[in-house]
């Protein structure tokens, strides 16, 4: 690095002389202006009509994180597996609050899948796939799953009128089994 003394005004002056300026002609400016205005108008007026196109290109996104209101329930999904020999096994997916800081960052996408999506109504058509996945995970040579029960464990966050500290937020003690799947032999292949 050259350490000769320079000041800001010198630098600005040298910029003026060394800058390599690319200009747009008037036609290009008008065309781009029309394009920008058309895009904005089309986007505002046809947002819902444009949605399939934007979704197809991966460009559709809403910006309503934690709004209009923040979720006031803690929950996670677990699966209870019943084996052919009568044995039971509980499977839990990664729970962010039980992971280390580094794992929370690395597994953050699993939070989205297992908390926001896994038990949501939009995932209803995929319930069988979810259960088959859990069955495959829990299969061994000696233990074949017979039934998979997907369970939502939840508890409301006590409101400000019943103030609790963060570490005293109650555990997810309510349990709702929202899907039962009878495993078929071909599911385990």
């Amino acid at each position: 690095m050259d350490c000769q003394s320079t000041n800001i005004s010198d630098m600005a002056q040298s910029e003026d002389t060394t800058q390599n300026i690319v200009e747009f002609g008037i036609l290009r400016r008008i065309l781009l202006s029309v394009l920008l205005i058309s895009c904005a108008l089309a986007f505002l007026n046809l947002r819902h009509s444009l949605r399939p196109v934007l979704e197809g290109l991966g460009l559709y996104q809403t910006w309503n994180l934690f709004s209009p209101d923040v979720r006031a329930t803690n929950f996670y999904v677990s699966a209870l597996i019943e084996y052919e020999d009568g044995g039971l096994k509980m499977v839990e997916f990664p729970r962010m609050n039980l992971l280390s800081f580094a794992e929370r960052f690395q597994k953050q996408k699993m939070r989205k899948l297992f908390v926001d999506c896994w038990a949501s109504p939009e995932m209803k058509p995929f319930r069988e796939d979810e259960a088959r996945y859990v069955a495959r995970l829990s299969t061994s040579a000696s233990a074949k799953p017979k039934t998979v029960r997907l369970t939502l464990n939840w508890s409301p966050v006590p409101g400000p009128e019943h103030f609790v500290k963060r570490q005293d937020v109650p555990p997810e003690h309510n349990r709702d089994t929202y899907f039962i799947y009878h495993v078929k032999a071909e599911d385990l292949l």
């Binding site: 690095m1 209101d69 953050q108 996408k109 995932m123 996945y133």
Partner: protein, 311 residues
């Protein structure tokens, strides 16, 4: 009428140095690499492999429904090797975007790869991923490779690169887009009651799946919840109002940065906060970057002189 055209012309087309959008390109590419190598690669088989929780067959029946979608994986469905090749090419394109080699092509390939991953398994994406895809799409048409890039080095054939200026219309589109996201966020929040009665922050920090770093006790109180809930609304409002006026721009960026850093400390939202923070460089004029570079250079020279005189 003439002044409106002049203002419009100046805003979108008056050439400015490409430093800010080039810095944004570098930050965005670095974030994408973290996303790919730290968050996606270790669990690649789980998200996209044969053991994925949701099968391609069902995705096709329910999600894709024969609609036209952009997904390179589907050129050779159910072939894990092909999926790995697409992923590897996306990583290479991201590195190329980072260093600014064939910048527009790299942005295009990175965008194609990320869109394919999104279409293939959309259940793991949050707003940050959507933000990355949208900004990458616009970067394909930008002059982000005109500064701080291998492209510029090869063009100038010298290590002392003269600054290159060009009409900043893509940078302006990205600025408008960033502002729009904050406007949308504020309007959405005003539809509910928690943000206006000040209890939103109280609930946010008690959602266990978002726990991040430990919080000092006073942050958990109800007064703090009110203050931080309103602060979020004010900081977000600043990002579509104050940020457009030079005298208040830095204040808006500072408030926005405090908001994102604060959220990131309290809540684990992955790269969501980081990618929004990165977009702030688009609002900082090139003269400020030059001033900062000059100050750093002076500081470096001062340290060197100190070392020489000490020895």
């Amino acid at each position: 009428m003439k002044s409106i055209w002049e203002t419009w012309n100046r805003f979108w087309f008056k050439p400015i140095p490409s430093t800010s959008i080039a810095l944004f390109r570098i930050l965005l590419a670095a974030i994408i690499l973290v996303l790919e190598l730290v968050q996606l690669l270790p669990d690649f088989d789980f998200y996209y492999g044969k053991c994925a929780p949701v099968s391609n067959r069902l995705m096709e029946m329910i999600m894709w429904q024969k609609k036209p979608i952009l997904d390179l994986f589907l050129l050779n469905p159910d072939n894990l090797l092909w999926y790995q090749i697409v992923f590897a090419l996306t990583v290479i394109a991201s590195i190329s975007l980072l260093v600014g080699y064939r910048t527009r092509l790299s942005a295009c390939l990175t965008w194609l790869g990320l869109v394919s991953m999104h279409q293939q398994f959309p259940w793991i994406d949050n707003g940050g991923d959507g933000f990355i895809r949208i900004t990458l799409f616009w970067l394909m048409f930008s002059n982000a490779g005109d500064s701080l890039s291998v492209d510029r080095f090869l063009e100038a054939k010298t290590a002392l690169l003269p600054e290159k200026s060009a009409p900043p219309w893509i940078q302006r589109v990205l600025q408008v887009f960033v502002s729009f996201t904050y406007l949308y966020a504020v309007l959405s929040k005003l539809h509910g009651s928690m943000w206006t009665n000040g209890s939103a922050f109280y609930y946010c920090i008690r959602l266990k799946d978002f726990y991040h770093f430990p919080l000092p006790g006073f942050v958990e109180g109800l007064s703090a919840s009110g203050i931080f809930s309103y602060f979020a609304l004010i900081a977000e409002t600043g990002m579509f109002t104050l940020v457009w006026f030079p005298p208040t721009r830095n204040l808006a960026l500072l408030l926005g940065a405090c908001l994102h850093l604060g959220i990131d400390w309290c809540m684990n939202l992955g790269l969501f906060e980081t990618v929004f923070l990165a977009s702030y460089v688009l609002f900082i004029p090139p003269s400020d970057w030059h001033y900062l570079a000059q100050r750093l250079k002076q500081f470096y020279c001062y340290c060197q002189r100190k070392t020489i005189s000490a020895s």
